[in-house]
Symmetry: C2
Subunit: 509 residues, 2 copies
Amino acid sequence: MIKGLSQVGGLYQEASNSNDNQFYLFEDIPFYEASKDKIDLALDQAALAFEESKSLSPQQLARLLSNIADEINSHKEIIIQTYQSESHYGQGRANGEFGRTISQIGTFVRLLEKGQYLHAKIDHSTDATPDLRKVLVPIGPIAVFGASNFPLAFSSAGGDTISALASGCPVIIKGHPFHPATSELVASCMIQAVTRSNLHPGLVAHLHGADYSIGQRLIMHPKLKGVGFTGSHNGGKALFDLAQKRSIPIPVFAEMGSVNPIIILRDKLNSDQNLANQIAESVLLGSGQFCTNPGLIFIQTNDSQHSFIQDFINKITSTDINQFVHGDIHKNYVSKIQNLKEGIPDLKLYQSKSSLGACGVVGIDQLHRYPDLIQEVFGPYSLIVLFDDYQLLTLLAKEFPGQLTLSILGSRSESNTVSRISDSLGHIAGRLLFDGVPTGVVLKSTMTHGGPYPATTDWRFTSVGTDAIYRWLRPITYQSCPDDLLPETLQDSNPLGIYRQLNDVWGIH
Amino acid sequence: MIKGLSQVGGLYQEASNSNDNQFYLFEDIPFYEASKDKIDLALDQAALAFEESKSLSPQQLARLLSNIADEINSHKEIIIQTYQSESHYGQGRANGEFGRTISQIGTFVRLLEKGQYLHAKIDHSTDATPDLRKVLVPIGPIAVFGASNFPLAFSSAGGDTISALASGCPVIIKGHPFHPATSELVASCMIQAVTRSNLHPGLVAHLHGADYSIGQRLIMHPKLKGVGFTGSHNGGKALFDLAQKRSIPIPVFAEMGSVNPIIILRDKLNSDQNLANQIAESVLLGSGQFCTNPGLIFIQTNDSQHSFIQDFINKITSTDINQFVHGDIHKNYVSKIQNLKEGIPDLKLYQSKSSLGACGVVGIDQLHRYPDLIQEVFGPYSLIVLFDDYQLLTLLAKEFPGQLTLSILGSRSESNTVSRISDSLGHIAGRLLFDGVPTGVVLKSTMTHGGPYPATTDWRFTSVGTDAIYRWLRPITYQSCPDDLLPETLQDSNPLGIYRQLNDVWGIH
C-alpha cells in the first residue's frame, strides 16, 4: 500500500528517473521527491476541483469529512504501525494522536451540520436600500505543510487540512520528510474518501519531498490561494516572506511555536505542593515536542533551594524520556542545551544522566543579559526564573515576543496581582491560563491556538478548534439577486435549515 | 479654529522652524508637516491610551462614538464651508457626505449596543476539558490614511477611523494633503469628544503632511499594530510592502479601487430602455470619483450603433461635470484619457466638448491586444465593450484583476446564463450585483466593500459596513479563569447583557 510516490488527481504519480530524486527509504521502498510537473499538475487539478467544491453544501462537505474519518479508521492498524516505525513514538502516543485526528474531524462535521459558521446574513430591500445577502465562501486551493511533531494530528489529515476541506477549499499536502510513509498512507485514505464521495479527484493531493524548492514552487504558483504551516520560525517566516512577494500576495498561517511562560505567585508557589510535578509532566509530555510546551517558568521567590525547584528538577531528571520523534530534532535539542551550558555561566543546568530531560535555574536579572534564555528549546527542557517584584517581571515580559499561551497562577488571596498581570500582559498571548498547564489544546470553538508574531503570522486566527475554518473563507455579497440564482445558503426558504441573520435577527429562518 | 497644526495627546503641536515644513496654505493659515518627534509622540500616546481603551465596554465605546457625532454635528456649518472651499465639491455633495459620515457613526453605535459582534463564547468545564471562554479584543494603535475622494466619509471620522475606535483601538489619522483643513477640523471635533468622554487623550491623533516619509515612519513604528488605507494602488501597495518588511509584520487593509465590470446580456440590453441612462448616471456620480464607479461595461451585441451606446454617449457627453475634488486628480484624468486616445487606435473615444465626461467603445477582441483598456481611469469615464459569446467573455474575465464589484444584468429569460457567469466569475469580486448599479455602498452588516487583490490587500474583510470592525479585533481565550478576573463580556452573570454562545447555544445568557 505504501509506494513512495506523490498522489495527484487521485493517482499515484510514477517517478521518472530524470526528474524525481529519491530522498528516503522505508522498508526497502524508495521515496521520490515531487518534480516540478507534478507540483504544477497538483495546482491545475486543485483549481479544477475548486470549480466544483466551492459550491458544495455544508452537508456535502460533512459527508466528505465523515468518509475521510471512516477510511482512516479502517486502515488504523497499518497507520499505527507505520507511525511507530517512522516516528520513534510509542503505542500510547500513536493511539492518542490517532484518536485526536479522528475526533478533530468529528468536530468539523458537527460544525458543518449546523451551518452557522457561514455567517449567512440577509437584509431585505427597503425604500432606500437594495436586497443584500452575505455569506462566507472558500478562497481556493490551499497548501498545507505537515508538521514534524504530529505525524497524524497536524499532518495529512490534521487540523490545517481538515479545516480547509471543511471550508470547501482543495488541499495540496506537502508531506513532512520526517514521516513520509505515514503521511502518504493517510493521504491515500483521504483520496479514497474523495472518490467514495464522488467528488473531483483534484480535491486532495499529496506531494513528497525534502527539498525546499518544492515548497517554494508551491507557494509561488498563481493558482494557490493560501497556506497552512506548523513548524519552526525559520520555515514559517520563509514561506510568509515568499508569499508576500508574489504579484498577488496570499495569506500564510504559520504557527511557529513559543516558550509559553508560566508565572507562579508566592502564595500559590508555597501552598500547591503538586504544582512542580504537574508542570514538569507538561514539560515532558510527548518528549516536550508540543507547541504549547511550557519553556519558561517564573516563580516568586528568592530561595534557589525552594522545594518547587527541587521537586521540578527531580521529576525532570528522573523521568525516562528517551525518544524524539526524529533524530534531527534530537540533534538540535542536544546542541541548544550545550550552547546554553557553555554560553551562560550564571545558568544552573540540571540534566538527567540517562535520559533527555533537562532544566535550568536563573535569577530574573539574567534575562536581560542573556536574551537567548527566552528562546524556545524544542524538547523536554524548561527554564525556572526566580523573581521577587511582580511589577518588574511585568515590565520585562511586556516586551516578550508573541506567545501561544501565558499562564498566571496565583492563590485566591493573590487575585488582585493576577488580575494586574493579566491586564498588562494579555496582549502577548492568544490564550491566558489561570489554572492547569498549557499543553492539551482542546478542540472547541472557544480555543485560540494562535498568538502575536512570532508565535504565528496572523494572530486574528486560530489553527486549532473549529474557528480554524475562518482562515480559508472570505465574504461575498449578493445584491438584488433573484432567489433562484442565490446559493442555497442565502435563498429565502433556507433549504439547508441553517442558522442565519435575517434583518438583524439570528435564527433558523 | 483651524490652526494648520498636528494634534497629538489632545493638544495642537506647535511647529518648530527647524523641524516642520510648511506644505499648504488655507485662508492665510500656513499648514506644517508633522515632524518625526510628533509622529513618535502620537504612537507613545496611542500606546498609553490603549492601556485604557482595550478594556472599555461596548457601551463606553458607543458613548464615545455618539459624542463624536454630536461634536461633528455641532460644527456642521464650518465643516461644510471648509469642505467646499477645499474640495471643489458643491453644497449637495457636501451635505450628502456629511450625512453619510454621521449615519455611519450611528450604525457602529447600534452594533456596539448589541454586543454580539464580540463573538463571546463560553464552554463550561467538563470531566475532560477545562472552562474555556473566548472573546474578540482590539489589537492596538491603528494608522488611518484619509482618502482624497471622500474628505468626510473616508477621512478623519470616516469608516476606517470609526470602525477602529469602535473596536477599542486608538487611531492616528494621517490627514490627506488634498483637504488638510477639513481633516483637521473634524479631527479636533473627535479630540473634543474624547475629552468629553473622559478618555485618554492619546486615543485620537491627527498628523498633517504631504511627504511620504510621514506615512513610512508611522508604518514602521514598533507600537503600530494595523493600517487602514483607501486610495491608489501605488500608495496602498507601498504601505503593504513596508508593513510586511517590519521585524513584526502588521496587517494593512488597503482598498485600492477597481473598474467594477458590468455585463449586460442581450435581452436585457434590448428591453431595458432606461439602462444606459442609469449606468451613465452611476459613472458620472461625484464626477466619477467613487471606488465603485463602473469603468467597464460589456454589452452583448455586435451593433456598434446600438441605442444603448447612443444613449450612453449622449448622457456622458451632455452632462455638466466640471469639477474634480482636487486639481491633481483632474490632471491625472486628462492625461490617462489622452494616453488611451493616442495609444489605442481602435478605440472610439467620445468626449464632452465643454465638460469632463468621456467614454470609449471597442470590440472585445481589443482587450487582449490592449490590456491598458481594463485599467482604472479615475473619473467620469467608462469603456463600453461589445461581445457576442458570453462564454468567451467569461473565459477572458476569469483572468481579470480582483474587483470590488461585478454586475451581471440579464432579463428573466436569461437566468441560466446569468447563473453560469456568476458561477464562473464570482471569485473575481467581493460584491455581485444582479440589478442596479455598483455605486451607493450601503452601510449594513451585509455589505462587502472589499475584493481580491489588487482591489484590496485582504479580501477576507470589508471596509464599509459594520463588519469593517473585524479588521481591528483578534480572539483571546481565557482558560480556567475565576469569574471575577474575567472581562465583563465573559462573566457568568453576563453583566453587559450581550448576545453570547453558551455551551454551543447562542442567546442573551
